[in-house]
Symmetry: C2
């Protein structure tokens, strides 16, 4: 069977209607609300065809039709038009994000808030991974007799600070000297690139402070390992409660588990995203079982051509794809611009 113009229009109408009402759509509704110039009987025939082709489904005989994953996929790929986002929304994004440029974490926290607020879905923003950062400076500060503060500064201003206990020294000048050597040796490396050779050099030069250096390097490694779970921000948890598909507590649980275990969510987002712009995963296309009735729209932001992280939206399969897509696209583009401007 072929997908002719009228079938496309009918499919489009069904999806539009279903997305707003969340109720199965009948042939009469289509004939009345979307004037395609034909009667409900004709629509009925088209719908039977669309069902045969797998684009729509019938929850039970004698109910209206509901789009299938395949139907949404066709819609997303060929039918929908991404709207330009409105001037006021644009302004809102500009203001909110610019205000929070200072701290990387605040920036992405705000991003998730803004995105969820503008779309009424769940929004997820993944901070740039520490492992992608380039070491800029390491500074040791004496806290008191036995404690030293280690501050790690990266090119993107990501800072990890940690208190390390050491009885070896707390002399300001000694610590400064150690800081300088560490900085000199490690500057310019990405955290994940730091290798045996460099470490050996450091151990050699700072032979007298081996224990202390070891603690500091362990700290670095910790920062690497912990970074993943720490750096996911989720906004709009409450929004999902308004969606009729989550009126059922058991379904809700699936999602809340994800929110609770941020690392899983992060992984899903990372895996889904592709290098080139916007990605949309619909229902069963998602690998993770728990979100087979959800869709994810996400996009990556970049600095210097390198992909730094992902921002996305998670909502029911019955989602306002055009608006959500525009939002995600716009916000990641703007994030890239901001980062470029600020850290270049």
């Amino acid at each position: 069977m072929q997908m002719d113009e009228r079938k496309k229009k009918v499919l489009h109408a069904i999806i539009q209607d279903y997305v707003t009402t969340a109720e199965p759509v009948g042939s009469r509704t289509i004939a009345r609300k979307y004037n395609l110039g034909v009667s409900s009987a004709t629509i009925r025939n088209e719908m039977a065809d669309l069902e045969e082709m797998g684009y729509i489904e019938q929850p039970h005989t004698s109910s209206g039709r509901v789009p299938s994953d395949k139907g949404y996929r066709y819609y997303v790929d060929f039918l929908m038009k991404k709207p330009r986002i409105s001037g006021s929304e644009e302004q809102y994004i500009y203001i909110q994000l610019k205000e929070n440029m200072q701290h990387m974490e605040n920036l992405f926290k705000k991003t998730s808030e803004v995105l969820s607020h503008l779309t009424s879905y769940l929004a997820v923003a993944v901070c740039p991974m520490v492992s992608e950062s380039v070491v800029k400076q390491i500074q040791l500060l004496p806290l008191d007799q036995e404690k030293i503060l280690v501050v790690l500064i990266s090119d993107k201003g990501i800072i990890d600070s940690k208190v390390v206990s050491s009885t070896i020294t707390n002399d300001v000048d000694t610590l400064r000297a150690i800081s300088d050597i560490l900085t000199e040796k490690l500057r310019g490396y990405r955290l994940q690139e730091i290798n045996r050779t460099v470490l050996n050099e450091i151990y050699f030069e700072l032979a007298g402070y081996k224990r202390l250096v070891k603690l500091i390097l362990e700290d670095l490694e910790d920062a690497l390992n912990n970074s993943k779970e720490k750096r996911v921000f989720i906004g709009g948890t409450l929004n999902i409660l308004s969606q009729p598909e989550f009126k059922d507590v058991e379904r809700l649980r699936n999602l809340l588990v994800l929110i609770d275990e941020q690392s899983v969510l992060c992984k899903i987002l990372q895996e889904t995203s592709s290098e080139k712009g916007l990605t949309i995963s619909i229902g069963g296309e998602n690998k993770y079982q728990g979100i087979h009735n959800c869709s994810i729209i996400n996009a990556t932001y970049k600095l210097d051509g390198r992909v730094l992280g992902t921002v996305g939206i998670l909502g029911p399969t019955r989602m306002m794809y055009p608006k959500a897509s525009s939002m995600v696209e716009f916000i990641t583009k703007y994030l890239s611009d901001l980062l470029e401007e600020h850290y270049k």
Copy 2:
């Protein structure tokens, strides 16, 4: 009417049964399961009395009884015995918390996780307020041509670091000099005590860097203001989904709003807690409307005799008060010990 021994036993039995089953308790159930040595008819008479006194309620004629807020209050005040927590639980707490002593934030995050895990309710841990901290050191580090990193170190190792833009200077030695002056002037003050006089002194001594100093002091103030919302950790969100009282999405929403707006939750906890140990607020005793069907058990932890913060449990009014109380009490006591040991 008087509260005699048998009435106490009946009330105790009703509460015990209702807490485990979540179903209204009938006279026969009491007579069968809790051998009080009398028949169901006698229990029935006692229950009628207890209802008249306001300790129990009947959802509708011909259903069993349910404890009222007043009933729980009587139970908590006079009937329940707080159990000693088990050795394995004790060990679990010791290990989990000790492992996370390094970072204040990790410690309290873990506290909320441990507490929620051991009780199956929602657990909330409030980090020591920054405003209670005493300034120990302020350090300025040059990041690049235009940016300076401000690190604030307090007596309890709480650190706030922020990037400040300034074109005035980025000379290492100048910054060090400024750091020293700031540290000297502010050391020993609690953040909330920093007053006009001190600030004027600082402005006077650092007249040439007024703009920079102003930025830094604004940073301090920010740290103060933001600290509240940042420093609440909530564990066990998923636990509440298992409670039958939250099978209804609308009720659930009330709680999730609280979790989303952590500042409110924090405030509730602060207001509820009293100086002297454990506090229990039952149902309607809570001021906040949204949790009139919840109870809060919380206690404060201290350092040096000063109350630093609060740790608590939030669950349905139908709660395992004895176990939860013991847990909260034990964990706050242990937190106090840990802090004493570590920061004294």
